[in-house]
Amino acid sequence: MKSLIPFKNRLYPISAVLFLYYLALAYALFSKGVYSSEGLFFAEKAILFSNGGVDRLTIVGLTFPQLSFFSTWLFSIFHSTFAPFIASAVGTTVLFYIIANSIETHQYKNWLFAGILVTFLFHPTFLFIAVSGKSDYMMLLFFYLFISALYKYFKYNTSYHISVASIYFTMLVFCNFKFIWLALFLLPVIFVAALQSMQIAKSDPWERIAFAFNSLSIRRKLGNKTFAVYLIVFALPLTAIFAFRLLNETYTGDSNYFLDSPYANYLAVINQSENFTGFAKDQVSSFITETSFLTTIKILIYAPMILLCFSVFKSNLRNTFVVFALFLFMEFLKIKYPDVFLQVGFYAAFICMCWGIILNAQNFKNLKYMGQLYLFIIILQLATGYFMMNSSSVPEERKYVTEFKHLIFDQKLITPDEDGTMAKYINNIPSTKTILADDATAYRIIAISSSCKRFLIPAQKTFLAALASPRDNVNYILMPSVNNPYQNFSLLNTEAFDRFQKDGLTLTKVQQSKNWILYSVL
């Protein structure tokens, strides 16, 4: 039955309701003290920027991922600590809207829409992304837009789609730097696309290649076209990264500052602690061990919709190559960063890609019971998604699944963030007092306490003086405890503590939590 209301008009209220749903969930978890490190990192940067006392340009210009930080910063006008959570709820809703809107003219739009809606409502990964304040929503958004534009370029061979794809790719890299490596795997895909777009009277791909290489004019044209597309797609992201590195180098003396500094990128610490193999003491047995070569299987289990996509793409070589390129990219990430767990956002990208594939598939209609099959796979994906997240190697992902279950079944079981108690205590300290802290690790406390006024951190000019002589400059020192998984990444570590004592500084514990000790300087 055809609806009397236009598709687009239906989409607005549905998106609005979805946003409220995400926001309500995010707030429910936030109010119970469930936070993500990335969300708190962005919140702390936004607070630092608003409250001043630091070089604002470093924060605005070098905090990475840049785009995700900007969106959090935008929402910090509502609530400084909750801002990243609003941003992720809004961002995930926008992602839903863009995907749902792009199926408007598809013959199976009702089936597809149902699948998209079910996924965004119930898939654990999408819920996690929407309510955790993490930046994965933006990565998925630009990834989807990039893949869609790339497929459209293959279909229509227009400069608009290829240049838009390039812009989205640049945005994607500024959302998650690891995607820069995807460029490597797209090189052969672009070559195949260029070859297919050549007017050669051969249908077999190998015959086409042979013909192209043996004809001087076609070989020249193929070479020129391939090179031109390489430049169009990759010149922008590569030069943007180059320029960004140059600015990092000029401004901080380190071109990799945005990747390696814990003050610019929360992953600098997390990837060497929580997300690092062998670091976590409470390793759970993963659904499938995260090892190179098994990643592909893990992806297929996580996103079985890919199998469906392969069947609709069976005759389209270049489109199939894109999917292979992404698998290779994931395998490559496991080889390049063998000890760092892949976050669930990377896997979710495959689900988004599947919608991109279906939208651009030409022989979709040939499959019988397509809609029913698709919906069945969507529901299957909810289950596999849950199992994967529940046994994820990334502690934060497991934590959210657990707390989510608690939120639904028994809210009393929710464990508030341990840093909350320390932040609460600090909030009761008079604002005229100063606390020496290193926000490389203490950003969570600063973000939860919603103010940085009491803190003296490394970005401030007097920090070094305070570190050398705390008695003259600060009233308190916030130090990570021995249980704190990040203690080795802080300037205020045990060595500093020993030095303070050696210098005759009298430090009195005024508050202690599992991860933090607040000393009063006498």
Partner: protein
């Protein structure tokens, strides 16, 4: 009597093998329907060459005189009508011994000659002369009324739209006040004022380029859109086609005349429905002689533009308007190679579009793109300009600055607009804005005219300085009353106009300053700069400058796609160098805007060694 003589001319031409009976019939039909004399048609519509005709008459014992050296009687001349002379090629010169001395292109008696005899009431002494010399003399002596109209028509009708006054009093007050404020601010607080200027300049630079990227992307969406399809083109009936005027303003283009004829001959449009006017300046004997010396038939009429300042192309075009017969009109440069089906496409599109579309702009590109660095860069620039920017402006409903040639007008609307502004050196861009302000629209058609890219640096700078000066002129003219402009073209059009026409010269002027700052700071690490500009200022300006350049290079890269000029893509990287050349031209243009605003920097054509055929072979 007339018939006997006419038959003689016909017999002469047929017996000399210069015309066939079929051609003769065509000429007679054409003559009857257009009120043009037999000889005018024969010499100007591709039937016989002037050289052949002269030789033929000389064999009959006729002697060609130099009519330009003949004595002229002002009283006789005042009784002549230029339009008539232009049509029948008969020019009464003086009275001598009770007879009227008349210069004619054909010595055979015609109705026109009898009419003149009756008008003056005396016997005629006929002097045979070259039709071109007759035209030269006629236009020189009788063309004053028309040339005055060509120069002052717009000024009289709509003085606010004329660029005769470069800076209005109000504009001068604003400009000097602004300079004064900046100077005072620099005295009072040098560092903070410098910081503000720096940030404003670099941010403006970035915004202007981001706007260009946005336009290019908007335009690139239309890449697959065919304004006129092949099917529509096939459905056109030649009998239904209107008369199409082609104006060819030339100045010292003697080397290009042959090529011009070849290019015009390849146009797929009925010859008798083409009204082609070669507009030659009075002092341009080189081109006139080149036309005289052609050993094959010409397919255009020559119009000699009498001397009058300013000596600009728009003045010549306005003059040509008085003699044009077409329902539609277009302008080509001498070296232009339009797509053969261009005129038909334009007619088809005009018929499809609503009435308020009065102009159709074709894309311009270059046939000698691979000649050297300059031609390659020029090709990149034109590709993104005509294939992406202008369609982008059209999509966003922002006034389109028309390109120099291949803009096709509805004649009656063009006249209603007052033609081109002869005081504006980018009269085409100005006309686009004026048309938009009157509620008219410009459309783009999927047809290209290939031109000769400037391949010589100084010639390029001359041409570009004129273009940039023209943009400055156009900007100043239309910004005399910003409120009125907003009322006419709306906020979107106003912002688009400012960012497209206004921002273009400013970005070129600002560019070398930013570059200098960038090099001093980043490359040479000059510490003194840091004492004036704090790090955050340098950070922002460096960011704007780098991103601006990257985006501009990127826009150039996109340009190769639609045309499949993939081999040019790497040249886009050298865009910053190309921009420096723009900056040189911009400063030259600015200087000329102040010192000689109407001076037309002539671009030399015909420097390329590449022909269209060679280029096609290379492809």
């Amino acid at each position: 009597m007339t018939d006997t003589y006419l038959e003689s001319l016909e017999d002469l031409l047929i017996s000399a093998g210069l015309l066939t009976a079929e051609q003769l019939a065509h000429i007679n039909n054409f003559s009857r329907s257009n009120q043009l004399s037999f000889i005018k048609i024969a010499l100007n519509f591709g039937y016989i060459s002037r050289k052949q005709f002269k030789k033929c008459l000389e064999e009959q014992g006729y002697v060609f005189i130099d009519v330009r050296a003949e004595q002229i009687d002002a009283a006789v001349m005042s009784q002549n009508d230029l339009m008539k002379v232009d049509g029948n090629l008969i020019l009464p010169l003086r009275k001598e011994h009770g007879k009227l001395v008349v210069a004619v292109a054909s010595p055979y008696i015609t109705d026109d000659l009898i009419e003149i005899q009756e008008k003056f009431g005396m016997e005629l002494v006929v002097l045979v002369a070259s039709d071109l010399d007759i035209l030269w003399l006629a236009h020189k002596l009788l063309g004053e009324k028309y040339v005055k109209s060509a120069v002052f028509e717009l000024l009289n009708r709509d003085p606010d739209s004329s660029a005769l006054v470069t800076f209005t009093q109000k504009q001068l007050v604003i400009i000097f006040s602004l300079i004064g404020v900046v100077v005072v601010a620099l005295f009072l607080n040098f560092i903070n004022t410098s910081i503000i200027i720096n940030i404003l300049m670099s941010t403006f630079f970035l915004i202007a380029i981001v706007f260009k990227l946005y336009l290019a992307l908007s335009g690139s969406k239309l890449e697959l859109y065919q304004a006129v399809s092949k099917k529509e083109l096939k459905g056109i009936d030649n009998d239904d086609l209107p008369v199409f005027t082609i104006q060819l303003p030339v100045y010292k283009e003697d080397k290009l005349i042959r090529k011009l004829i070849w290019n015009l001959q390849s146009l797929d449009y009925p010859r008798e429905k083409l009204d082609i006017k070669l507009l030659i300046e009075e002092d341009d004997d080189k081109t006139l002689n080149a036309v005289k010396d052609l050993d094959f038939p010409a397919i255009f009429e020559v119009i000699v533009v009498p001397f009058h300042m300013p000596k600009t192309k728009p003045k010549a075009c306005n003059y040509g308007l008085h003699f044009s017969r077409g329902e539609y009109l277009t302008i080509y440069d001498a070296e232009d190679v339009p797509d053969t089906d261009q005129l038909k496409k334009v007619v088809a599109l005009f018929r499809k579009l609503p009435q308020n579309y009065i102009c159709i702009q074709c894309a311009l590109n270059y046939f000698n793109r691979n000649e050297n660095f300059l031609t390659r860069m020029f090709t990149l620039e034109y590709s993104y300009w005509f294939d992406y920017m202008l369609p982008g402006l059209g999509t966003l409903d922002i006034p389109i600055p028309l390109g120099g040639t291949s803009n096709h007008f509805k004649m009656k609307n063009l006249i209603e607009l007052g033609g081109w502004d002869p005081f504006n050196v980018t009269e085409d861009a100005d006309l686009g804005i004026r048309a938009f302000a009157k509620g008219y629209k410009v459309a783009l058609v999927n047809s290209t005219t290939y031109e000769e890219a400037n391949n010589e640096t100084f010639n390029w700078i001359r041409q570009r300085s004129r273009w940039i000066k023209g943009y400055m002129q156009t900007y100043l003219v239309h910004m005399r009353n910003p409120a009125k402009l907003i009322q006419k073209i709306g906020w979107k059009g106003f912002l688009g106009f400012n960012f497209f026409i206004g921002a273009t010269p400013i970005t070129f002027l600002v560019y070398p300053i930013l570059l200098l700052l960038f090099i001093s700071y980043l490359v040479f690490d000059i510490q003194n700069i840091k004492t004036i500009f704090p790090d955050w200022v340098l950070y922002i300006s460096t960011f704007n400058f780098i991103i601006g350049n990257i985006l501009m290079i990127y826009v150039n890269m996109i340009a190769v796609f639609k045309r499949r000029y993939y081999e040019l893509i790497l040249y886009a990287i050298t865009n910053p160098v190309y921009w420096l050349m723009h900056s040189i031209s911009a400063y030259k243009g600015l200087w000329q805007l102040i010192t000689k605003p109407f001076y037309w920097e002539k671009t030399n054509h015909g420097l390329s060694k590449v022909t269209t055929t060679q280029n096609q072979k290379a492809e």
